[in-house]
């Protein structure tokens, strides 16, 4: 028998809190009067409040049940209790409103307690800062991969030794290929680390749902890789573009800055898409998808060898980017129907999760 106050994702619509709170993990209120009149969509509300009621000596615990039932029965509270995925914050607000409508005795006292300590809602490690953290860590991993690949390239150049331009160029091409492969290896390593970290966070918080889903992780890690890659490619060029100078004075292309900017944009977006597809492939053990991601990365990098022939480079790169984008979209659970709903602002799940009217 599960405790009534489990994370709400498991208890969605599973009936009122009439289970005995003996195994209840909420720490206050050893004795309770389980309230059975709570709407089915708020089982934790019932158990939490019953815990609260049981905690006090004075206002007789029977009273809340009696005093509250009209309130609870008649005020199905904001947001309508039906379906959809509620964020934790949404639930908390609902509870607060419900309590405010109620004239019950004890509740105003317990209100903040409920809000603050309300079980599963507050127990979630906040996803927002976690995402930022994983973003920066993703950037760090990309950086480490770049470091290793440039170390190898540097050693190769020292060994290779000659001042021959074509030898240098070949070594550079070798460096690029190595760097791409190392990036993908580090993406895989990051995936493994994230899985382990998620598991660790879950066990510490004793929750059954992960604080951050793999999909979000894949997006965040792809973004981390993309941001670092883009920044490293572009920032020095940007600072040079401020200074005095003439582009292409020695016969190079005058569109240097523009093409660099476009290419960097493509690479950043591609990293995001690669991240999504990669993690999904790792989750579902689709090794062909993995190989395809690596191949497409190599292809895009290889196309840049055609520079300064920008048509040969930019156009196919953008085409590949669109293809990867649609692949990532469908991998992440998108569909044409979702897209339509989203664009017309009618996506119910999204709206409920963000507490917005239709």
């Amino acid at each position: 028998p599960t405790s009534p106050c489990q994370p709400w994702s498991h208890h969605w619509g599973s009936g009122g809190g009439s289970q005995s709170p003996a195994s209840d993990p909420l720490p206050w209120g050893a004795r309770t009067q389980p309230l059975t009149r709570f709407p089915a969509w708020a089982p934790e509300l019932s158990c939490s409040l019953s815990q609260c009621a049981g905690g006090g000596d004075s206002p007789a615990p029977a009273e809340p049940a009696g005093g509250r039932s009209p309130g609870s029965g008649s005020s199905p509270a904001a947001g309508g209790g039906s379906g959809g995925l509620w964020t934790g914050r949404g639930r908390v607000q609902v509870w607060a409103k419900l309590l405010r409508h109620d004239r019950g005795r004890v509740h105003w006292v317990h209100l903040h307690r409920l809000r603050a300590g309300a079980g599963p809602v507050r127990r979630r490690i906040a996803a927002e800062p976690l995402r930022l953290l994983f973003l920066i860590a993703g950037g760090f991993f990309w950086l480490v991969s770049l470091l290793l690949s440039s170390l190898v390239w540097f050693i190769a150049v020292q060994i290779g030794g000659s001042n021959n331009a074509s030898v240098k160029k070949n070594l550079l091409i070798f460096g690029v290929v190595l760097s791409v492969l190392l990036q993908e290896v580090f993406r895989f390593a990051y995936y493994k680390l994230l899985k382990k970290a998620n598991k660790g966070l879950m066990t510490i918080s004793q929750e059954e749902t992960m604080p951050i889903s793999v999909r979000q992780l894949s997006y965040v890690s792809g973004l981390g890789f993309g941001i670092m890659s883009g920044v490293f490619s572009l920032v020095n060029i940007l600072t040079d573009s401020l200074g005095p100078g003439t582009v292409g004075i020695y016969g190079d292309s005058p569109q240097y800055f523009l093409s660099s900017a476009f290419m960097t944009l493509a690479i950043v977006l591609l990293h995001i898409f690669w991240g999504i597809v990669f993690f999904d492939a790792c989750e579902k053990k689709k090794w062909w998808a993995l190989a395809l991601v690596i191949l497409s990365h190599l292809l895009v990098s290889g196309l840049t060898f055609l520079n300064p022939q920008y048509e040969g480079n930019l156009v196919p790169s953008y085409v590949i980017m669109m293809l990867m984008g649609t692949w990532a979209f469908f991998t992440a659970g998108g569909s044409l129907r979702n897209l339509k709903l989203c664009l017309m602002c009618r996506d119910k799940d999204f709206l409920l999760a963000n507490q917005r009217p239709r």
Partner: protein
Amino acid sequence: MTELSAHLPQFQHGQLTENFPDNHLSNTNDNSERRRHDNSERRRNDNPESETNGQPQNSTHLVVEQDEEDEELTLKYGAKHVIMLFAPVTLCMVVVVATIKSVSFYTRKDGQLIYTPFTEDTDTVGQRALNSILNAAIMISVIIVMTILLVVLYKYRCYKVIHGWLIISSLLLLFFFSFIYLGEVFKTYNVAMDYITLALMIWNFGVVGMICIHWKGPLRLQQAYLIMISALMALVFIKYLPEWTAWLILAVISVYDLVAVLCPKGPLRMLVETAQERNETLFPALIYSSTMIWLVNMAEEDPEAQRKASKSSTYDKQAAANQTQNEDADMDDGGFDPEWEQQRDSRIGPLESTPESRAAVQALPSNSQASEDPEERGVKLGLGDFIFYSVLVGKASATASGDWNTTLACFVAILIGLCLTLLLLAIFKKALPALPISITFGLVFYFATDNLVQPFMDQLAFHQFYI
């Protein structure tokens, strides 16, 4: 309660500790009992006094010796705390890097500090290395001596001397260094300024800063001032420390930090322990803290009613006692005056606050505890950490050939180091040095990026290859 008030204090050379709110709620017995119970295995090293909290357990029904891990479910320092520290560290670094890039004064060589007497403009590399090693040695010994002096003064309770010292140094930073900074900024942007306006600005800036840092002020303002003085100090170091000396000093000071905080006889550890024994906070001028300390008081029983009750019970035992108890219940309105009660009644319906209900509410786990769940507990970081992180990143941006690449690499490395340090803090729950991991990562990434990655990226950019 002692476990709530005896938070681990801090010192400037970068310890990272927790910040328990000072909770003076008089009867948080239950709460402290509970927290002690569930935290006992977690807070092994922390507060020995917490176990000896001799307050009797208050009325029973609230104390549930259940599995309280649910209350403290989150990692003690979740991602939120990491971000709470990332923001000020990032801000300080941004200020330093922005200044270095725009104001050329701080990259110009205008001599050296007296703490680093040996010059680095020598003929041979060997001589330069030797000079820088000597410089670093002198600087570190100065720092060690000053730290030991501080610990000795603290131990022998010469608080006045310490406060005077801190006030003089913050006066110097807030007035003199900011005056120089402002002057240089005006020179860079060719802004004409008269002395009277300047005096007014500096005076206001300085006085408000002194008040905020040493006394009371809005939290954000205090944090902003601490960031500003860290940035100013870091800029001074960047300007007056020659290159090799700076890197060596960074390396040696992180080793020193490690030793001083973790070794049993280390000065910083002794400082922390002494402060802990005396149940005091350390100097606010040296520590950046991310939350305010909450002081909560709840209305207690009217002491007169209590006296009356006890008086009457001594006179006339049974009936009279009952009677007077009822009377007392009527007379003791718990501190709520009639107008307030009327208002309340009109707003949320008739409520009655009897002594029993008030006792029950007071016996509840405290409000401040409830409204301040583990995620809202603050984290503290010493200002010395801010300073040395910013010195590293500033030096990287000033002297690196890779310029922005190197700066960014160092920045990310320092943040990741800070994150790892916080993770260790969450695991070990005692004062930890915040410098070693971050500075090590920063140094490794500085030299690696500058010497290995930069040529690679350069070549790639030249051919317009993308990886």
